[in-house]
Symmetry: C3
Subunit: 457 residues, 3 copies
Amino acid sequence: MTKIKYMLFAVLGAAMLAGGALAQEPAAAEAVEAVAEAAATTPAPDTAFIFNTLLFLIMGMVVMFMAAGFCMLEAGLVRSKNAATICLKNITLYAIATVMVWLVGYNLIYGNAATPGGYLGTLAFWKADDSAALDTGYSASSDWFFQMVFVATAASIVSGTIAERVRLWPFFIFTAILTGFIYPIQASWEWGGGWLDANYGFSDFAGSTLVHATGGWAALAAALALGPRRGKYGPNGQINVIRGSSLPLATLGVFILWLGWFGFNGGSQLALGSLDDAISVSNIFVNTNMAAATGVITVVVLCTFLKRKIDLSMALNGAIGGLVSITAEPLTPAIWQAALIGSVGGVIIFVVTPLLENLRIDDVVGAIPAHLFCGMWGTIIVPFSNSDATYLGQAVGIGANAVFVFVSSFVIWILLKMIVGIRASAEEEDKGLDDSEIGAPAWPDFSSKPHPLQPAE
Amino acid sequence: MTKIKYMLFAVLGAAMLAGGALAQEPAAAEAVEAVAEAAATTPAPDTAFIFNTLLFLIMGMVVMFMAAGFCMLEAGLVRSKNAATICLKNITLYAIATVMVWLVGYNLIYGNAATPGGYLGTLAFWKADDSAALDTGYSASSDWFFQMVFVATAASIVSGTIAERVRLWPFFIFTAILTGFIYPIQASWEWGGGWLDANYGFSDFAGSTLVHATGGWAALAAALALGPRRGKYGPNGQINVIRGSSLPLATLGVFILWLGWFGFNGGSQLALGSLDDAISVSNIFVNTNMAAATGVITVVVLCTFLKRKIDLSMALNGAIGGLVSITAEPLTPAIWQAALIGSVGGVIIFVVTPLLENLRIDDVVGAIPAHLFCGMWGTIIVPFSNSDATYLGQAVGIGANAVFVFVSSFVIWILLKMIVGIRASAEEEDKGLDDSEIGAPAWPDFSSKPHPLQPAE
Amino acid sequence: MTKIKYMLFAVLGAAMLAGGALAQEPAAAEAVEAVAEAAATTPAPDTAFIFNTLLFLIMGMVVMFMAAGFCMLEAGLVRSKNAATICLKNITLYAIATVMVWLVGYNLIYGNAATPGGYLGTLAFWKADDSAALDTGYSASSDWFFQMVFVATAASIVSGTIAERVRLWPFFIFTAILTGFIYPIQASWEWGGGWLDANYGFSDFAGSTLVHATGGWAALAAALALGPRRGKYGPNGQINVIRGSSLPLATLGVFILWLGWFGFNGGSQLALGSLDDAISVSNIFVNTNMAAATGVITVVVLCTFLKRKIDLSMALNGAIGGLVSITAEPLTPAIWQAALIGSVGGVIIFVVTPLLENLRIDDVVGAIPAHLFCGMWGTIIVPFSNSDATYLGQAVGIGANAVFVFVSSFVIWILLKMIVGIRASAEEEDKGLDDSEIGAPAWPDFSSKPHPLQPAE
């Protein structure tokens, strides 16, 4: 309908020109037509600006809500005696990320745009500058908000792995360092236009490596520094199952994360102000959803055939594994490729989860398989669908991220261990951290006698 | 980039004026005025395209989140010994719907657009085609995503009714058939431009019948094939109350559904790219909210006067009943009409729920009154506010949907019953399906001794 | 506004053409360029209209979802024996607000726009009027929806404070009066262009006073009329701790509220149809998020140093306190000012919560410190960052709101107490209101023996 109107506009303009003295200049008439045509396929810069900004705001909101998703997932997968502590950790880590990304994080990532190929941004607190807003294409604050919630996501990953034994304040201090320095420095290498982007053509669309593997490596470092929960591993290689207190809340958490991931990947298109951007965001939605779906189905099928019973928390992690796997490249895969990438994510969950247990690494919520292993998988497979990336470049990015994040995180945790101590006492751990850290039980009306430990199959 | 283009526009315009000779043609001046006027009231096609696509994406996101709403509602209304199983069912059914709508569902609905009046679409997997995107008015993927989450909604309805006794895999197989074939075929009759649309002027704006009654009929067929839960009905016509494990989670679920319904009905306007569309979506929001509100209030008032105590789960279903009732036509009713339509939905919940119990049909979450009966009510009443519909046409649509969905669903369930068995053993049912299907309790820290059965009033 | 600009565009274009020989006038060419430039920085009125409407719809949706946030917060902070009742209260109050804002509330606020400086609007039910939609700049229904969810928010505040002892129907009646009359009348003084706006330059961007202090004063009046819960205060000045049944659900509630607040404050920009509006909404997001973050961190730090253990429910209220504090002016503060304003909100939570207990006022969820005290703080501090406001004007607004809302609420509660009785019997309260009001337990599968009372530190 409206298109016809614009066509009329073009024809009319041409006719008018033809009517006048300009008739002798057909080139001019064609030029007018071309301009009218362009006006019909590209929004004016101000309209594009509002669309781009709106994308950041809406998608940022649902990514912010992922903090609630992680919180419910983790509160559901810890024992009830530690559920209040994990809730406090999750809301406070989001608050810390907010402040740190303002104070140092944002400009450590993006503050060095003038000198590409560098190793970190500038050390300066962030301030909204919209003096050239129309040229930028979006409001500065909308961009800051969107970037900030990404940083918070990385920190949320850590809290789940090391639940039920880490003390609150050491975790908060690590969170401040992770969100203020570790995450921003490595993100600057790629998203800040640094060396990974400039020299290796590394490609990580929404952060399989830069966000999820970062959270995963930090979680692994913390798990190693802390050691497993008391009772998780018996003296003779025995592995005990420690059940989470509420699978319904854990499921709710994963649904919230799935929802948030539309914002996480869709918003990472970073623009909505043109036809192509709108189409891209839509394709990202479809691929993101598909990878999550095949992640779930793969775990359900594997459990059915290989374990006879279907482990709900593993199926939930199948969704997350699929989502993390597609995050490095949610745009270029055909749907069947997205389905395949997500399905392999599900396989990774199924295989790596027991493997970590055999290595006596205690990852309470299964964040390391989901975020670290699926993050690396998603990143290395980018060239499968995106010819701009190379397997070598991807490997370099994965490796650089691994070394930097794991080493720096491990050093920080060891320093914290030496200086302030990072682990609750055995007695505190047995009574539950809600008693020692919060002073109040999470579910006081219900018998909170923990389910007896059971050996794993 | 685009800014430069506009600068060119300006310069070109000035040049044209400088050309002069057009001044003698006042008709041309009027034409220019008309074009400017049109530009002031209708967005350019590209801008409209982005708005339309954005509507599908945002509204699709909140409809997707309805999967979490159904999950919490159902997890809260089953006994704790079956809560993990219902969680697994809900996340997996959404995953299955994703894959099936991609493989067959979408094109069974929409793949036959060239030959109106048909009985089904084409059998082909879906592939995004944006080659004529500007003419379509929205990105293909955004539309697919929005349609897919609708299909998942229908499947979510079934899972609640037959909870606590159906085995996982038969349910998954039925879900695949429902989302891949049953739903798409009947939806093609109307939304795919088939015979109901072409020959009977059937009108079902957002799917009171096509989505909700479809889910309801499938749920009824399944309930009949399965039979009631053990202990629900006593030997001498006695009806026992089986209490859900968490009314707060059930309430959360309904709030999420209420939120999602803004997307469900509002997004069904299918466009946001014009003044009229924006006004329509807004009116739909108001009517949708109003019908839900009067649904709740009606149940609360009826309970107060007729039962003295106010049944929370019935009040929650009052909201859903109001929402389903307004879904067939959320646009044309005046507010008082929406209030009335929703209020009758509340009455239906209050009347039909005990009626089903007297018929010894065991609907664990009350999905049949809410989705099937209110769905039919909402559909038949469309001509009350929309003169384009007729009561006859509506009745034909309701009837066709009923026969096709109920019969095909019942046949599938009976076949599944004969071939693989659909029901957990008595022992499994008594222990809870979480034990036999998942192998882990949903709330392991809390005493999960089920509340003793009580006779209903 | 922008429509006029486009009219000018048309007229100017025609005039220029009519002028013909204008080629000799370079000024005209410049004028054309300027108009084209303007078109590049301001969307056409129809596009702006859709953006504005979309802002109301999206932001209204997340504010609507705050009803779920309040419900989860309150259900988590009451004992399990009262959790179903609080759920019913929260969903029904939202329904009542919907109906009352339609019947009287909206026009009591906005129905008197022609005569500024007044004391109330007109008494008429609301009806969407889009006859001058393009001039208004948004669809009437989108605005109604956005205003309505604000009113519901105020009512949600009340329900938490007086939980566990108030009877359902007196609460519903009060809710109807609050949402239909008390809130609208005082809101008309400012947002309806009444005397506070016209004569005192009172400034309350998104309602620290008009929404949150209103809810807070009504809650205080109700708490005084009702008295504390049985067992809350011992005979010798002893204060007992009564623990909430689910801190994870309470945490979820606060995350939902935090999410909703982006809509609450961001949507209160009331427009998205220009570059400046998009930038403003973005800045509001950043400040809103920052104030919540510093509210949390402040409570966590204060608890650590002064109480050694970190009270989770107080930390959660720290987030709400920060959010309420920034609500009166989320646009003009620099980030550090937003951080400071939110931090003081955290201090208020930490200081006022025990203070109320010492005054033997029983506020079950801590809504009075968060919504009333932080609301007043946020309002009085507006001139700190916004030079259009004065401390005197702010004080007048706070005082007028206080007197009107508190007195009218208190009178209503006393009347209700005299006429129908507002409080459950001692026996009902001890057994829990779920038994007497709902007739069903909220968590029937779990031992619901309440945690024994403990003296507060």
